[in-house]
């Protein structure tokens, strides 16, 4: 049996299924439901076994078409930067407000992906978000929380 990335993912899935099965057994059901043919933990228990069964087979059986992704051709740096930008965006959207956090998210994302034409970066961030907010908040009356714009007095 050759170890490859798919086998490792399958092994992780096997562990996840085992953990899921263990957690399913820990679900507290009502006393009168304990011996019922079906209760809150019946289906998750079946799922845990099914997950272990399929991932176990994937680990044991030989691969038909082994897939190996060469890390040389993957753009990890850009992807990680983009994911981090999204996390910061998610963390600040409520506190800083929709307008500033979204505009900055777009500016940084364009930049991290290699865009250097500042004219377009600016046009497709601040004014774009302002128009989007106007459409959503002003026309479609969708509530958008923005403490910053509220503080400045632009939004009610």
């Amino acid at each position: 049996m050759k170890i490859n990335s798919v086998k490792i993912i399958s092994l992780l899935f096997f562990v996840l299924s085992a953990f899921y099965l263990y957690t399913a057994h820990q679900i507290q059901v009502f006393a009168f439901d304990e011996n019922a043919p079906f209760n809150a933990k019946t289906f998750p228990i079946y799922l845990g076994y099914a997950g272990m069964f399929f991932s176990g087979l994937k680990i044991v059986l030989p691969d038909q078409k082994p897939i190996e992704v060469d890390p040389k051709y993957l753009e990890f740096r850009k992807t990680i930067l983009l994911v981090l930008t999204m996390i910061v965006y998610g963390a600040t959207i409520l506190k800083v407000g929709f307008f500033l956090s979204t505009s900055l998210f777009l500016v940084f994302s364009y930049y991290f992906l290699g865009e250097r034409r500042w004219k377009y970066i600016i046009i497709f961030s601040f004014p774009f978000v302002a128009i989007f907010m106007y459409l959503l908040h002003g026309i479609l009356a969708v509530y958008l929380r923005d403490p910053l714009l509220k503080y400045i007095g632009i939004m009610g």
Binding site: I27, P37, Y73, E75, L82, L113, V142
Partner: protein
């Protein structure tokens, strides 16, 4: 039925709904055209918007997006040989060579006419088949529904996995696991919530769809370093040539369209098969039907070679609505997304939908036809302009997709936790995609999870804990036999290819 059609027409032809069909078709075409982004992504991005409308309008918008995205996918297949969706891969076999010969406009027109004809014919089939099947499906009981859901999952896993049945089954189980998070529907007992209130209502369907499709597709494009705009530069997007189709070509299409429509519709109705298989089957069938000199032209810009898969994939789209509307069981990933959206509206599709919400049932069917007309009238003349979107650099495209995904979730929950959870699921989905783990089975399982548990619960309670409900009724036995055959077929194929690998 006439009364129903009139109700449907009245709803679908209201000004607001007509606008929604147009917007849906237009937005769908643009999103579907971008390589890597298919109808599921297009619909996923639209879901938060649809929740602002009534169910009929929301569903009409999504149906428009669906058709638009399929049409858009054909455009990128023909112009840059980069199918936006798997269902349009076969379109590129003859569409791209035609475009290379300087007949891009003609290829797009043939694709549009074939799509229109395929969609129209299958909409008529749907009109006839859906109400009849609705009546038949009223006799279905919980064990039959449970069996049908297993059949749907097995079939999707078998057909969407490209030879990786086990991977697809793992994705099904993962989808069901995600669906089991939250309070149990009957007893309200929290499950897998890890004592956090954020998970007590379960994981939002929109969150999972956005994370596994829109977001992870965007991340996959980045990590793989694909740039769709580079491919777009290979062919001139400003001069597509004439869109006129001559008499000879019309004659060739006239023979191809009816048979491909019938095939596409039947394949679309089958759970799991969908547009991809329909288009490949139609391409293969057409090749066998034509004369030997025409056969030589296949792969080099044949009119029939382009028309057949285009007709079939649109016919399959209509066909896939049959199990959704009549049984409440989606047959494909895209209809699974639509089922999730319907449940979000508080509507349970199924045999009773025909009686309880005739306006929704019929307006969706009628809007499909209107969608076809809109696609033909609106999109065909605009194609030379819309095609330029293919040249939008990914440096702008990807952040926009991520922005719409995050905003979609933010507007629904105003909660940081959901955004972080979505990013987490998207990262895992991206890694899984890199190693060819298919995502449609995950979504289908996630949507069906609750219904499956409910039907299994009812079946087991009725049979007092015995699994005999699986062979008590002839209908259930037939469904279980079909599942058994699909699994056997998959095992046989796997063993065959393992043997082949060993010999090599």
């Amino acid at each position: 039925m006439i009364e129903g059609i009139l109700i449907g027409l009245k709803t679908a032809l209201s000004f607001q709904n007509l606008m929604m069909v147009m917007i849906g078709c237009f937005a769908g075409t643009i999103i579907g055209m971008l390589p890597g982004l298919g109808p599921m992504t297009a619909i996923a991005l639209m879901i938060p918007i649809t929740y602002g409308f009534d169910p009929a309008t929301g569903l009409i918008l999504m149906a428009g997006v669906y058709y638009g995205a399929v049409f858009g996918g054909s455009t990128s297949s023909i112009l840059i040989n980069a199918p936006g969706v798997p269902g349009t891969v076969a379109t590129s076999f003859d569409g791209y060579p035609m475009a290379q010969q300087g007949k891009a406009g003609k290829a797009l027109a043939i694709a549009a006419y074939s799509s229109f004809a395929g969609g129209t014919i299958s909409a008529i089939f749907l009109l006839i088949a859906a109400p009849s099947l609705s009546k038949v499906s009223l006799s279905f009981r919980s064990p039959d529904y449970f069996g049908l859901m297993i059949l749907g999952l097995t079939a999707v896993a078998a057909f969407s996995s490209k030879g990786n049945f086990l991977k697809a089954m793992m994705m099904c189980v993962l989808g069901l696991m995600l669906a089991s998070v939250g309070q149990d529907t009957l007893s309200d007992i929290p499950r897998f919530t890890f004592n956090t209130m954020n998970l007590s209502d379960g994981i939002s369907f929109v969150l999972v769809v956005m994370a596994t499709f829109a977001m992870s597709e965007a991340l996959t494009i980045i990590i793989k370093g694909n740039d769709p705009s580079k491919a777009a530069k290979q062919i001139s997007l400003t001069d597509l040539g004439s869109i006129k189709v001559n008499k000879e070509e019309t004659k060739q299409m006239a023979a191809t369209i009816p048979r491909s429509s019938i095939l596409g519709f039947i394949v679309g109705v089958l759970p799991g098969a969908g547009a991809t298989i329909a288009s490949f089957l139609a391409y293969g069938m057409e090749r066998n039907f034509v004369k030997s000199e025409e056969k030589e032209k296949f792969g080099k810009g044949s009119v029939q070679g382009l028309s057949a898969p285009e007709t079939a994939n649109n016919a399959a789209c209509s066909g896939s609505f049959v199990p959704l509307l009549t049984l409440g069981i989606p047959g494909s990933g895209t209809t699974a997304v639509m089922l999730g959206a319907l449940l979000g509206f508080g509507i349970q599709p199924g045999p009773r939908l025909y009686e309880t919400n005739p306006d929704i049932f019929w307006s969706v069917i009628m809007s499909m036809y209107i969608g076809m007309v809109v696609l033909l009238i609106l999109n065909l003349p605009l194609i030379p302009y819309i095609a330029r979107i293919l040249a939008v650099p990914r440096t702008f495209l990807i952040p926009m997709i991520l922005f719409f995904s995050v905003t979609g979730i933010y507007l629904m929950s105003f909660n940081n936790f959901d955004i972080f959870l979505m990013i987490g699921i998207a990262v895992i989905a991206t890694i899984l995609r890199l190693y060819d783990f298919p995502m449609p089975p995950l979504i289908l399982a996630f949507v069906l999870g609750g219904l499956m548990e409910e039907n299994l619960r009812r079946s087991l309670l009725i049979s007092d804990g015995s699994w005999s409900f699986l062979w008590d009724r002839p209908l259930t036995v037939c469904i279980m036999m079909t599942i058994f055959l699909i699994v056997c077929w998959q095992i046989y194929n796997s063993l065959k290819s393992i043997k082949k690998t060993e010999i090599l």
